[in-house]
Amino acid sequence: MSIHPGTAAKTSALDSRPGAPDPKARRRSPTRVNPALYLFPLPAVAITAFFLVMPTLQAFQYAVTDWNGFSAAFNYVGMDNFIRAFTKDSLFTNALTNNLKFVLLVVVAQTVFSLLLALLLTKNSRGSILLRALFFFPTILSSVSVAFIWKFIYDPNFGLANSVLGAVGLESLQGSYLGNNVQALYWVAMTQVWFHAGQMMVVFIAGLQAIPRELYEAAEMDGAGKWQQFKSITWPFVAPATSIVVAYTTVQSFKAFDLILGIAGNPPKASLDILSTRIYSTFANSEFGYAAAQSIIFMAMIALVTWLQRRLLRLTPKGE
C-alpha cells in the first residue's frame, strides 16, 4: 500500500490539446482515417448535447420568465428575475455573501494547510506514506457522512469538541458552534478543509517532488536559510500545483451543497445558506424561472472568481 503522487501527475498532465497537427505526421503520407472512427464518439457527443448543452442553454430561456414549472402559461419578465435576485431578495444576497465568504475562507485555509502537510510529507519514507494515506482518507467519504461526523463533534450538548474542552478544563472555550449564527460558517469551512485537505496535499506533493534537489543544495552552500529557500525555490516551483489547488478548491467550495445540507438540514438556516442550496430551495418552491436565473448568476460567479484568481496568481512573481 503506498501513495504514488507520480502516477497522479502522469494521468493529470493532459493540458495540451489532443490531435494538434503534428507537422511530421502530415508530411508522411497520412494514414487514411477509417470513417467508422467517426461513429465512436457519437454516443458521448449525442447525450452531452441532449442532456448537458441543451439544458444549460434552456436555463437562459427560463431565466427570463416567471414559469412555475407546471402550468402551461408563463410570462416573459425580461431581466426582472436578475434584478429581483440582487435588489429585492435578501435570501439570495445573503446566500451569495455567505458563499463568497465560505469560498475565500476555504481556499485560503485549505491551500495553506495542504501545502504545509505536503512540505512535511514530501519525502517518501514509510511513515510519510502511511500518514499521506491517512490524511487522504476523508476525501473518499460521502459529504453526508462527513456532515454527520462533524454534526456530532459540534453538538453543543453531547458533542466531542465540548467534551474534550471540558475534560481538559477549558470550559470557557466551549461553544454552540453551528448554533452560533456568527460562527457557523467558519465551523463548516473547517469541516470542508478536514474533508479535502488530504486530496490537495497529494497535488502539492507531486509538485514538490518534481523540484530538483540540487537547487536546495546550491542554496544551502550559498548560505540561504530555510525560509529563504522556501521563498525563492519551493514557492515559485510549486506555483502550477498552487493554481490547480486554488482553482479546484474554489469550484469545490462553491458547490459544497451536500455538506451544507447534511450538516445544516434541508433547507439550511440563513447563516449557512449558500448559492447552490438557495437555488435548490427556490426550485423546490416551484419558482423555476427564478431558480434558472439564480443558476446563471451562480455560473457567472464561479467564472468571475476563477478569472480573478488567475489574474491574481499571474501577478505573483514566479521567481527568476
Partner: protein, 271 residues
C-alpha cells in the same frame, strides 16, 4: 524549514484529528445514545448490531444500499465505455475533428450540476425519467462524461500512434484496435477513472434529491440525509448509517489505494 519536533507535533495532532472522530463513529455505531454521550471515546460495551438492524430493517437502508449498488454498477462501466470510445476516436482523429470533439465533450466540466438542474428536471419529467433508477444512471453518466473523457482521452493520446497505424495496415478495423490495443494499454488510466467515477457516483446526492420521490427508490446518500431530520440527535443510528454508506468505498480504498490517489487527483486537475 521545520524542526523535527515541530514537524512531528503537527503531523501527530492532525493524525489525531482524523483518527479520533472516525474511531468515535465506528465505536458509536454499536452504542446506545446514552452510552455514546457518557463515554464517546470508550470501547462499546457490546458489539450489539441493534443499530445496524434498525437502520437496515427498520429504516430500509438495505434497499437504499441495493439501489446505490445498482446505479453505481451500471453508471460507472457505462461512463467508462462511452468515454473510452470517444477518447479513442479523439486520439486517432486529426486536426479539427479531434480537438473539436474533445473540446465539446470536456466543456461540461465548466458547468456545475447545480447550474442546469431546473431544465434537466423538466427534461427528465418529459422523458418519464423522474423517480427512477434509470434516470439516476443517465444523470450520473451525463455529468461525469466530461471528466472521464478528459482523463481517458488525455491518456490515450499519449499512446504511440505507430501501434495503431501498424494495426490499420494489417487491415484491423477500428473496433478491434480499440478492444485489443487501445483499451489494454490504457488500463492504468481506466482504473484511475473507474475509481474516481465509483466514488462520485456512490456518493452522489444532488440528482437523487432532485429526481427521487418514492422512499423505495432512494440511494444511500439520500436515505442518510433523510435520517438527519428524523433522528436529530440519535447519533448511534446516524453512525451506523455512515458506516454502511462508507463501507464499500473504504474497503476499495484499502486494496486499491494507488488508483484512488491517481484517480481522484486526476479529477482534481479539472477546473
Amino acid at each position: 524549514m521545520f524542526s523535527s519536533i515541530t514537524r512531528r507535533g503537527i503531523l501527530a495532532i492532525y493524525a489525531v484529528i482524523i483518527i479520533v472522530p472516525l474511531t468515535v463513529v465506528g465505536f458509536g455505531s454499536f452504542k446506545s445514545t446514552q452510552e455514546l454521550f457518557e463515554g464517546p471515546f470508550s470501547l462499546p460495551q457490546s458489539l450489539s448490531p441493534a443499530n445496524y438492524a434498525e437502520v437496515i430493517g427498520g429504516q430500509d437502508l438495505g434497499s437504499s444500499f441495493m439501489n446505490s449498488v445498482i446505479v453505481t454498477a451500471i453508471s460507472v462501466p457505462l461512463t467508462l465505455f462511452l468515454a473510452s470510445l470517444a477518447g479513442y476516436a479523439v486520439s486517432r482523429l486529426r486536426g479539427f475533428m479531434s480537438w473539436g470533439i474533445f473540446g465539446f465533450l470536456v466543456l461540461g466540466m465548466a458547468i456545475p450540476a447545480q447550474a442546469n438542474m431546473v431544465p434537466l428536471y423538466v427534461l427528465f419529467g418529459r422523458l418519464g425519467l423522474l423517480d427512477s433508477l434509470t434516470g439516476l444512471v443517465v444523470a450520473n453518466v451525463v455529468s461525469s462524461l466530461p471528466i472521464a473523457v478528459f482523463i481517458l482521452g488525455g491518456f490515450m493520446r499519449t499512446l504511440p500512434k505507430e501501434l495503431f497505424e501498424a494495426s490499420s495496415i494489417d487491415g484491423t478495423g477500428p473496433w478491434r484496435t480499440y478492444v485489443s490495443i487501445a483499451l489494454p494499454l490504457s488500463a492504468p488510466s481506466v482504473a484511475a477513472a473507474a475509481i474516481f467515477l465509483f466514488v462520485i457516483h456512490w456518493n452522489e446526492l444532488l440528482y437523487p434529491l432532485l429526481f427521487i420521490q418514492s422512499p423505495s427508490h432512494r440511494t444511500l446518500p439520500l436515505a442518510l440525509l433523510s435520517f438527519q431530520g428524523e433522528f436529530q440527535t440519535n447519533y448511534p443510528l446516524l453512525f451506523a448509517g455512515v458506516i454502511l454508506a462508507s463501507l464499500p468505498v473504504v474497503v476499495a480504498y484499502v486494496f486499491l489505494q494507488r488508483y484512488f490517489v491517481a484517480g481522484i487527483t486526476a479529477g482534481a486537475s479539472k477546473g
